[in-house]
């Protein structure tokens, strides 16, 4: 071993290049969201729907129990199970709450404390920065959508010994929550990039969510035309879910348009986000 003098000396090692540069942003973000106050309460509330469906699944395997008949009927087929779970109004609202909780201050705090330039002064591109932030919201959203969905499948097999869904349905049951999570995450991050005030971002998010429903309801109430339902975020999610899983549609209009709207909006939000970050000086 070489004998060195005290003080500075040259390091003769090699710098390892990290393959996933945004990974530290992701891991730090996950931990900081989990440590927030009320996180456990929020997550417990969001998980409650899974447990209700779990009980209903069990009940559906025991017809003699004659409980929760309405819900049992709604999950009588695998397609109905996924569709009912993923497009349930409560879960849609909880996805909104999780997006706000996990994501409202992700970029707004960085803008407020002028720390975006600190990130970008590292060997990180703006894409790495966005991906890292995105992944935090996606993680939590999919933890309460995709993961419970897959667990329901497993439990269904355990309780009933039967899973006639097939590969196609399995793929859809993974793709749908991913698409919806991408939508929520892009909306949240875009809003977070618009203001340094986290409180303002949270409120704007809820304004967008509830206002879309209100306006859709107003137009529908006046014109009685189902096409106005495309204005509502919640209705689009439910309609797209029905279209994907091949179940009766929410309203009388093509289901694929809802998917196009959600994907189109996701792209728009990402463009706005990229434009906002382009303005940040490094």
């Amino acid at each position: 071993m070489p004998i060195r003098e005290e003080g500075y000396y040259n390091w003769e090692g090699t710098l390892s290049k990290s393959k996933i540069k945004w990974f530290p942003i992701f891991t730090t973000g996950i931990k900081s969201v989990y440590k927030k106050r009320f996180s456990k309460l929020l997550f417990a509330t969001a998980s409650s729907l899974f447990f209700v469906f779990l009980i209903a699944l069990y009940v559906s395997s025991k017809p003699e129990l004659k409980m929760m008949s309405r819900l049992v009927k709604m999950i009588s087929s695998d397609a109905l199970l996924f569709r009912t779970y993923y497009t349930n109004g409560f879960l849609v609202f909880m996805c909104a709450m999780i997006s706000v909780f996990a994501g409202s201050e992700l970029i707004s705090n960085d803008l407020k404390h002028k720390s975006i330039s600190l990130y970008l002064a590292r060997p990180l591109s703006k894409l790495d920065y966005i991906t890292g932030k995105f992944s935090i919201i996606l993680f939590y959203l999919m933890m309460f959508t995709l993961l419970p969905g897959l667990l329901l499948v497993i439990f269904k097999v355990i309780f009933t010994g039967d899973f006639s869904a097939g590969l196609a349905l399995l793929v859809k049951s993974i793709t749908f929550p991913v698409v919806i999570s991408l939508f929520w995450a892009s909306l949240m991050l875009m809003l977070s990039s618009l203001s340094e005030n986290g409180r303002f971002v949270k409120i704007i998010f809820f304004v967008a969510f509830f206002l879309s429903q209100m306006i859709a309801g107003m137009f529908w109430g006046i014109f009685r035309n189902d096409n106005f339902m495309y204005i509502s975020i919640e209705k689009n999610i439910q309609q797209f879910g029905s279209f994907v899983f091949g179940t009766p549609l929410e309203f009388r209009a093509p289901g694929w348009i809802s998917g196009a709207i959600l994907l189109g909006l996701t792209a728009l939000f990402l463009l706005i986000l990229a434009y906002r970050l382009r303005k940040v000086e490094v």
Binding site: R37, V100, R199, F206, M218, G221, I222, F223
Partner: protein, 263 residues
């Protein structure tokens, strides 16, 4: 000790500051959303040679729920909770706390400023909508009185909700989330709960002040309580506001606000 001049100084400073803020401009635009929707709907109807939408119906079924079940609550949450929360977040509370001005004066001046700006942005949207939807006959005594009552009800609603959210902002760290849970959680659920749960919402009393009652959801077991009279509702809301404000001042006086990491 209450020093009116100092309250006035705080009021003037924060009104000016708020009127320049981005969020104020956004909420002014937001308040005219129902008006834009009304014009858009009638534009579409004109295009298809359809009968125009009756203004009064739109105002009753669209405008009123928008303002009194959504807009006022959100704008009061954003501005009311921000009275102290913004000072804490931006660490400017130090300038107020180390000036010779009482905590009561600080909160009074700031709340008055925030209430004024909130009312202005509400009044712009609501009055424009009312005038547009009641254009034929707006100058009748009945409509003018209804307009006055609409603005008065809005003012009382803003005072009540802002005082409540001020209390949240003074005492809680996550005041926005809790405020949102209150608005979209408690106030919505309480309307359908049996018993007197509705009386523990501000909306229950507010509905008695508005010129047009906002229809409520049928409760569980189809039980609904009768609405209080105008005077009772007004006194109740002002009393609640006074209690929330007094509690806010008390907490503000007693609490320590750590604005930065201690060194």
């Amino acid at each position: 000790m209450v020093n009116k001049n100092k309250i006035k100084t705080i009021y003037n400073f924060f009104v000016k500051k708020l009127l320049r803020a981005k969020k104020t401009k956004f909420f002014i635009l937001f308040s005219i959303t129902p008006l834009l929707i009304f014009l858009l709907i009638n534009g579409i109807k004109l295009l298809y040679n359809d009968n125009l939408l009756a203004g009064h119906d739109f105002f009753k079924n669209g405008g009123m729920p928008f303002f009194f079940q959504f807009y006022i609550q959100l704008v009061s949450l954003l501005f009311g909770a921000a009275v102290l929360s913004d000072e804490i977040d931006s660490k400017t509370l130090i300038y107020l706390n180390t000036s010779p001005i009482s905590k009561f004066s600080i909160l009074s001046g700031k709340l008055a400023a925030y209430l004024s700006v909130t009312f202005i942005i509400y009044a712009i949207g609501s009055s424009l909508l009312y005038v547009t939807t009641h254009f034929n006959g707006i100058l009748t005594k009945k409509n003018l009185l209804a307009l006055l009552q609409l603005e008065f009800a809005g003012l009382i609603a803003i005072i009540a909700y802002s005082s409540l959210f001020l209390l949240f902002g003074v005492s809680l760290k996550k005041s926005t989330i809790i405020g949102l849970v209150y608005i979209f959680g408690w106030e919505t659920i309480a309307q359908i709960l049996p018993g007197t749960a509705q009386k523990i919402t501000l909306f229950f009393y507010l509905n008695s002040l508005t010129p047009i009652r906002i229809p409520k959801e049928k409760g569980i077991l189809n039980i609904s309580i009768s609405q209080p009279g105008f005077a009772e509702a007004l006194i109740s809301l002002l009393l609640f506001s006074a209690i929330f404000f007094a509690a806010s001042v008390y907490i503000f006086k007693k609490r320590e606000y750590l604005l930065a990491d201690h060194t």
